[in-house]
């Protein structure tokens, strides 16, 4: 068979093509939704990674200091493999400024939302710098009914692209580290809420506790959702 014959035959094979039934607008809407969903998932996944990393590192520090030490989420961005480079949209000074503002607002807001807390301390969180996401994070610890708890607050400023999804996503993820930690079960239980805000940022607020005691799940979800939607706690 000659190459020209093959060319002609292939052209002829598609000559009687039926009308295109594909709705391009629908495809674009679907693509936007999938993109938004996956970005939000990556964002919340990043926050979860930060929490788990903090839980593993934190208690080691706590043991060394002889008490329950809040997980500090130290160090740079989590080491999640990503081939895409991080594209910072803010200078480090701007990020530091916003992080400081969040740190200043967080204890007051936590005290206002969670009744009966005392001895609040806020520590640096870890910015989940994944791909082209930009975010800030802070970790607040406090005492409630004699026990120590922590709230980790993350704002990813460009978490979603599709604004039609705004405010639609409230996810509660109760988690428990399987097997706990060797010699230390501190901060083993995590319960978090993700909220997509109208400004397209994604907020993840997580409650960390040593055991399942403390406030009931409904109350926790209420606290976390309230904090996640608190306009004063923002990027």
């Amino acid at each position: 068979m000659l190459e020209t014959e093959l060319r002609d035959s292939l052209r002829t094979a598609v000559a009687t093509e039926p009308a295109l039934t594909l709705d391009i607008d629908e495809v674009v809407v679907r693509a936007r939704k999938e993109t938004a969903r996956s970005r939000a998932l990556v964002a919340t996944g990043a926050a979860t990674f930060v929490l788990v990393g903090g839980i593993v590192v934190g208690p080691t520090v706590a043991r060394a200091t002889g008490g329950m030490q809040p997980a500090g989420f130290p160090g740079p961005a989590p080491a999640i493999t990503s081939s895409a480079p991080i594209v910072p949209k803010y200078s480090s000074a701007q990020l530091a400024e916003r992080s400081t503002a969040l740190a200043a607002a967080l204890p007051t807001r936590v005290a206002a939302v969670v009744p009966g807390v005392s001895d609040l301390q806020t520590h640096p969180g870890s910015t989940p710098g994944l791909r082209d996401f930009v975010g800030i994070a802070r970790f607040t610890t406090f005492t409630l009914d004699g026990a120590r708890y922590g709230i980790h607050f993350t704002v990813i400023t460009n978490g979603v692209e599709d604004l039609s999804e705004k405010g639609a996503c409230v996810v509660v993820r109760p988690e428990c580290l399987p097997g706990g930690l060797v010699g230390d079960a501190s901060m083993r239980h995590v319960r978090s809420v993700d909220v997509v805000r109208p400004d397209s940022s994604v907020v993840t607020v997580a409650w960390l506790a040593a055991d399942t005691g403390g406030p009931p799940a409904e109350a926790l979800d209420g606290y976390l959702t309230q904090l996640a939607n608190d306009p004063t706690l923002r990027f």
């Binding site: 391009i24 999938e34 996956s38």
Partner: protein, 166 residues
């Protein structure tokens, strides 16, 4: 918009890959969604079409790995009722001539099929085909040569009435 401009072209290539217009449309839809998701990372617009070909090819190869898609239909349209105005013998003969090469093409191994479609339908150079298929130019040349040989043999078999289908 890219999707509007290229949906038809992509669907033709997809049809030649899989032999079914409905599957071709599904493949194009999946391809366009994937392209949308990586749009911000794509470079110049003139390379986007070849990137789309790569995505389409990989989407099709992935689909073929799914058990429920392994059998490809040769014909996609079944008429509900006979049209008395049509000379069936003449129609069958014309349709057979038109389809025999594509039918033979569908019996080839997927990557050989892809090389022939990219080279002789999409009119890509050896270098462009290699980029789309993510392989070396030498592989493209050898796959094309073997593909043409296999296609000749398949056309001969089909013309002799051996209606086997891979």
């Amino acid at each position: 918009m890219f999707a509007r401009e290229h949906a038809r072209t992509l669907r033709r290539s997809a049809y030649l890959f899989c032999g079914d217009w409905h599957t071709a449309e599904d493949l194009v839809q999946a391809t366009l969604v994937k392209i949308y998701r990586s749009w911000s990372r794509l470079g110049k617009r003139d390379t986007v079409h070849n990137y789309a070909r790569t995505v389409l090819l990989r989407t099709w190869l992935d689909e073929k790995r799914k058990p429920w898609r392994r059998r490809e239909p040769v014909g996609s349209e079944v008429p509900d009722t006979a049209d008395p105005t049509i000379d069936i013998a003449e129609g069958v003969s014309r349709s057979w001539d038109r389809d025999v090469v594509h039918k033979a093409l569908l019996t080839l191994a997927p990557r050989q099929r892809a090389v022939l479609i990219l080279r002789y339908f999409d009119e890509l150079s050896v270098a462009e085909t290699a980029r789309v298929m993510r392989c070396t130019e030498g592989t493209v040349k050898s796959q094309a040569a073997r593909g043409l040989d296999s296609l000749r043999a398949a056309v001969a078999r089909l013309s002799e009435g051996e209606l086997t289908h891979a």
